[in-house]
Amino acid sequence: MEYFLFIVRSAFEDFKRSKMQTFLTSLGIIIGVFAVIMLTALGLGLKKYISDQFDALGSNTLFVIPGQISTSGGGFNPTSTLGTSFDIRDVNSLKRIRDVIAIAPIAMKSGTGKGTVKTENVTIFFTSADFFSIAGFSVDKGRLFDQNDVEKRSKVLVVGPSIAAKLYGTAYSALGKKIAIDNVNFTIIGIIASKGGGGLGGSDYDSYFFGPYTTGYVFNPNKQFFRIGVRVNPAVGLSAVKAEIDKVMLRRYKVDDFSVLEPSQILSIVNSIFSILNAVLVAIASISLLVGGIGIMNIMYVTVSDKTREVGIRRAIGARKSDILSQFLIEAVALSVIGGSLGLVLAELGVLAVSSFFPAYIDLPSVALALGVSSAIGIIFGVLPARKAANLEPVEAIRYE
């Protein structure tokens, strides 16, 4: 232990003497650890953000979506979601199921919305009045659209507070304003209460418009929906209602053409997508760790030849092979752990820098992983040079000029 501390101390004194060289040598590790931790932090943040959004949907909802999505076995197959969509006939047949207490067909439209302050690309969800209760939205100012608006095909919109603020300066000033979206004029009748959440390029609920689905037919001449949300009687189990929905849908569609999902299932799909994405990103970032390790190996070989005579002296006064081995190994590990720690600090700063618009966070396992991986790299890439030093013949080493 005493020897270990002595070696660690003298390794650090070496580093202090050659700060620039130490920094450059560990740069590969710094970048590698930074990239891995940062990407993991972004992935974790995104995953948490999406989980939170689905949590907000409540526990008694089901979604009918096109295509076959299975969370078991083959996982998520994105191509199967294309092709099919639903129409009002499906909505009406689902409405007749006894334990379906609210139903929201959803169609989507993107276009340019011109506000008084700014013009922005906007997204509108055209849906039923039930949507607000299914998604748990409430009004902050003005009113939500209702069944009457749906029947009359009123050209009204309800707006999320953040997009309203972008277009009109403040959220409340949007109330009562007219807005033209792709040359169709709408009146803003209500501002919804913020659901919170970060930015993610505007894809949070606070950044959307919502309008009656019947009005949306203007943009949607085929009168199709890409999603149907359903709230079920809480006294009945979700799976019972799900079976009913399956039965109704199978009358018109093949089994592969639609899926009935619970929010928890969607969540697990999202999670599996992010896990794969994260693993790929981390694998790419790990290449930099590998390069960093090779850099350390290279510098350690140089150090071994620089210190050949020193090794000879140490061997002459009684150092064993194992003493020399641990001296160089500890130096390599110290070098890469310094790199790992700096990378971690950088990642921490990076997370802090994006935290205002991206929900990234670093968890404890990432920290442990970063330090563990960088020590492992030190050992893996330090062992060959250290063995070379340990196996130097004492008499050759001491004669070395």
């Binding site: 004194e13 009684g318 013949e393």
Partner: protein
């Protein structure tokens, strides 16, 4: 009962050769068939012109090198049966080295250089090495330099530090390879007086390799090496 004590063998070389293969046919003998004994408490000088094989002899005696042929005995124990760790331990506690180039470690202070062998020691040290180092430094007039680094010392001072490092583990044998080679004549003689003192007062066996005759004269016995052959 000291008068009953028989002076025993410190190091024995029996028909020791050290050779290097140059090519298929030629073999170069750095040392050929050397037989020699160094007894306890002796002060011997090993002399010879450069390239004579005296340094090879010294490296073999110091267990830094292994013979190609023959056997080396340390206190009548054959070293060919020892493994690398055991040889390291002997170098650590039994032998103290003094080199021509001083061979101090530049990034360690005087005190750290002196204490370095204790760090590699696997056996229990039954005295305080720090106290011993302080006492030796005071005795050698180097106490004020204890936190200095080797490059701030004169040659003579560096060689003294090297001798202190050789002494810290209480060795039985001090091997000095051209200890005065990098020093002026006056300082060289001071260093030799020091070694003589250690031999006479501390009863440490001393072997000095040198090519200077007036340095060799400090030895009570002179061994001459020429062309790889030991002549007594």
């Amino acid at each position: 009962m000291a008068w009953l004590r028989v002076t025993s063998s410190m190091i024995k070389l029996i028909h020791v050769s050290k050779s290097y293969r140059i090519d298929e046919e030629t073999e170069f003998f750095a040392l050929k068939d050397a037989t020699l004994e160094i007894k306890e408490r002796e002060f011997i000088s090993i002399t010879g012109p450069s390239g004579s094989g005296k340094s090879t002899l010294m490296h073999l005696v110091g267990l830094l090198d292994k013979p190609t042929k023959g056997e080396i005995l340390i206190q009548d124990k054959a070293i060919s049966r020892l493994d690398d760790d055991e040889l390291s331990s002997l170098r650590n506690s039994f032998i103290g080295f003094v080199f021509q180039q001083f061979n101090l470690i530049p990034k360690l202070s005087v005190m750290e250089n002196i204490l370095l062998p204790t760090i590699y020691s696997r056996k229990e040290i039954d005295y305080s090495p720090e106290m011993k180092a302080v006492n030796l430094l005071k005795k050698f007039g180097l106490y004020e330099k204890k936190d200095s680094f080797p490059n701030k010392l004169s040659g003579g001072q560096q060689q003294r530090v090297a001798i202190l490092r050789a002494l810290i583990m209480n060795p039985k044998l001090i091997l000095a390879d051209e200890p005065t080679g990098n020093l002026d004549s006056k300082t060289g003689h001071e260093i030799m007086e020091l070694l003589k003192n250690l031999n006479e007062k501390e009863k440490i066996t001393v072997a000095v390799v040198t090519h200077e005759t007036d340095i060799a004269k400090y030895g009570k016995r002179i061994i001459n090496v020429k062309d790889g052959t030991v002549k007594k």
